[in-house]
């Protein structure tokens, strides 16, 4: 085993550093000025082959061969220089790969460049009230206009992140109400800036309800051209499976968990409990999981770099992360004690956050529960591990209901 990246990668690292030293000099720029500078910088970085590496050049990408080591070096060096990476979000992580795989040339031309340049921001339109993990229980209706050129959409979507910023949405709509559940769904792109669309931020249990929270969307005879439908009519469920896979790969950066653990240790020091044998034992116990997660992410990375299949462990990372988050939340709650009587300043996105004491952990204490819900509930993750990872037979109710249609 060898955790160094090798000479070739280190030479590449030097290239990236040189590039950044020359190209990323934001100085004292602010606001619009800075925005323009960043836009120009990203264009240079794409030309240099550092951003949007998997996107063809004709759509504004760098069109580079897959190389996870190089990608990692780029991430590290950009982070060190505090230089902006890709715009991120659902558009780059989900819409672009889906269009590259399943879209028409027209759709690619229309959307990819504007998405990776940050002009189009995409919301996800899968969840509906009550659908929970059963994403195929789509009730939002799509009906063809009498002239057959537009989809008319009616219904409601929920839990759309970046919903207040989104310009567009990729969504599942039920277009063949009489077909078997998984066969009557169509995958549609839609412009959110139209009279038939209403959005409302969802206030969460943390109190959060600001610009960066989830939204729900109401569709009342909203319209989208038929040419914006991705894949075959009625086969939207299969199209959406591509993107969900991408989402799973995007979640679970090991560094985030490690940073949070270090903050938990700092919290124990801050509240004077780091000498408490119970706290020390619990910290070290949790760290066993944190490190297992970290080194497993190395393992996945290494397999990915070598083009090898890491096996069942890849299916476990999401749930593992969620469960560690729960453990950390419980210890944090013990440590904050009465500090938790006061809600952290800026919760709910109302007003500036300002300096915050131990009570800021309340966000994590509640937020750890959000992880069990977002991106596939924990019980679904357990099914995935049991069925795809261990090869156990499918739940009878799911098997009967799906009729074999669900991947």
């Amino acid at each position: 085993m060898d955790l160094s990246y090798g000479a070739e990668a280190e030479a590449f690292r030097e290239d990236v550093r040189s590039f950044l030293a020359a190209a990323w000099q934001p100085g004292e720029r602010r606001k619009a000025d800075l925005k323009d500078y960043i836009r120009a910088f990203r264009r240079q970085a794409v030309e240099a082959g550092y951003l949007y590496r998997s996107v063809p050049k004709r759509y504004g990408g760098a069109e580079q061969p897959v190389d996870v080591i190089r990608a990692q070096v780029i991430r590290e060096e950009f982070a060190r220089a505090r230089a902006p990476m890709e715009v991120g979000g659902n558009g780059v992580n989900m819409t672009v790969p889906t269009l590259l795989e399943k879209g028409t040339d027209e759709q690619r031309e229309l959307f990819i460049r504007k998405t990776i340049e940050g002009e189009y921001v995409w919301g996800q339109g899968y969840s509906e009230p009550g659908s929970g993990s059963d994403l195929a229980s789509v009730r939002t209706k799509g009906e063809l206009s009498p002239d057959g050129t537009r989809w008319i959409v009616n219904g409601q979507k929920i839990w759309t992140s970046q919903g207040m910023q989104s310009t567009h949405m990729f969504m599942l709509v039920r277009t063949e109400p009489d077909a078997p559940k998984h066969d009557g769904i169509t995958y549609l792109l839609i412009d959110l800036d139209q009279p038939g669309v209403t959005r409302r931020p969802i206030r969460q249990m943390t109190g959060e309800e600001g610009d960066h929270t989830f939204c729900e969307f109401f569709f009342d005879n909203a319209e989208s051209p038929v040419s914006w439908q991705v894949g075959t009519r009625g086969q939207g469920w299969q199209v959406s499976r591509t993107t969900l896979k991408h989402e799973r790969a995007a979640i679970g950066s090991a560094d985030g968990l490690g940073n949070q653990f270090r903050k938990l240790v700092d919290l124990a020091k801050e509240v004077g409990r780091i000498g408490d044998p119970l706290v020390r034992d619990e910290l070290a116990r949790i760290e066993g999981f944190v490190l297992s997660h970290r080194y497993t992410s190395f393992r996945l990375f290494s397999c990915s770099a070598a083009g090898e299949d890491p096996g069942r462990v890849a299916l476990m990372m999401k749930l593992y992360l969620t469960e560690i988050g729960h453990e950390m939340a419980l210890l944090a709650q013990e440590l904050v004690g009465e500090h938790a009587f006061v809600e952290p300043a800026g919760a709910g996105g109302r007003g500036p956050r300002g300096p915050r004491g131990p009570e800021k952990w309340l966000d994590q204490i509640m937020g750890s529960l959000g992880n069990s819900i977002a991106g596939g509930a924990s019980n679904i993750q357990r099914n995935i591990i049991g069925e795809r990872g261990l090869g156990l037979p499918r739940d009878l109710a799911l098997e009967l209901e799906a009729g074999g249609g669900r991947a």
């Binding site: 004690g337 009465e338 009587f341 006061v342 809600e343 739940d395 109710a397 209901e401």
Partner: protein, 332 residues
Amino acid sequence: MRFHLSEEQIAIQDAVRGTLADCWPMERLHKFADSGDDFDPDSWAALMGLGLGGILLPDSGMGLLDAALVSEVAGEMAAPGPLIAQLLAVAAVARSGSEAARAHLDGLVAGTTIAALALGDSQFVQSARAAQVLLVGDRDGGIALVEAGEGVTIEPVQPTDRSRPVSRVSFAGAIRHELFSAGDPLAASLCDAALVLIAADALGGALHCTDISVAYAKEREQFGQPSGRFQALKHQLAHMALDAEPARALVWYAAYAWDAGLPDAARAAAMAKAHLCDVYVRSTRAAVAAHGGIGYTWEYGLNYWFRRAVLNRAWLGSPAEHRVRAAVMAGW
């Protein structure tokens, strides 16, 4: 031999539950939570109208068990405070020799004089702005009744528990009536009673979380079935019930031991506080997970119970602190 509830006791719980259902529906709770107030006069008047204020009067014919049963329903319904403070203030004043304090007794029993609780080392007091008197624990272990007003500094904060909002309070130079001096067994006993009432609130909250999760699992369909038909969720719900339901008897016993003056009353109170507050935290977390997305919304309201669990757990000492006390009392 009697170790289950009498019809009268069940009737008291039903009366409190019915009253709160009327005057404290979710819309009211939502409104209160965003109001910035720390006291709700309407629900208070309704509860006090049931005569709850006098439960812990020495001659009430009732006792801590009955008070705990009321506190349980308050926890179940996420009722606003300062119910526990009021019950304890009556118990304390009625048992003290302080004439100045006893002048407040009638008002306290009727609920027209509102009491807040400042036992322990905490600087946070529920309903502090509404209170006319505060039951204060001295650093040396005595207990005093402090008059609100001059010398009492109250700094409002954004409270985590929106149903029982706290303020930051200090008492330098306020008017105070000593009720029990340091070392008086009644002082320690009152603190034990507080622990039992908090444990009871936690019990009610945990059972509520279990019940609404079960109800939701029966109603909500997933993959063409009520979600509660799936064994994984079913077993998670079974474990919520398993965690909370047997612990009910631990609260009963702690209250009974206090009423009967049993030698293990103090230890039973510590065990009940530690155990039930842990149960409550687990139950609220499990309830959010069992609900999925809707449980994470503010609108659904589950977060009020979650926030009460946060407060109950840390209020008057964490579970770990009470386990240390229990270990010492056991002579380990």
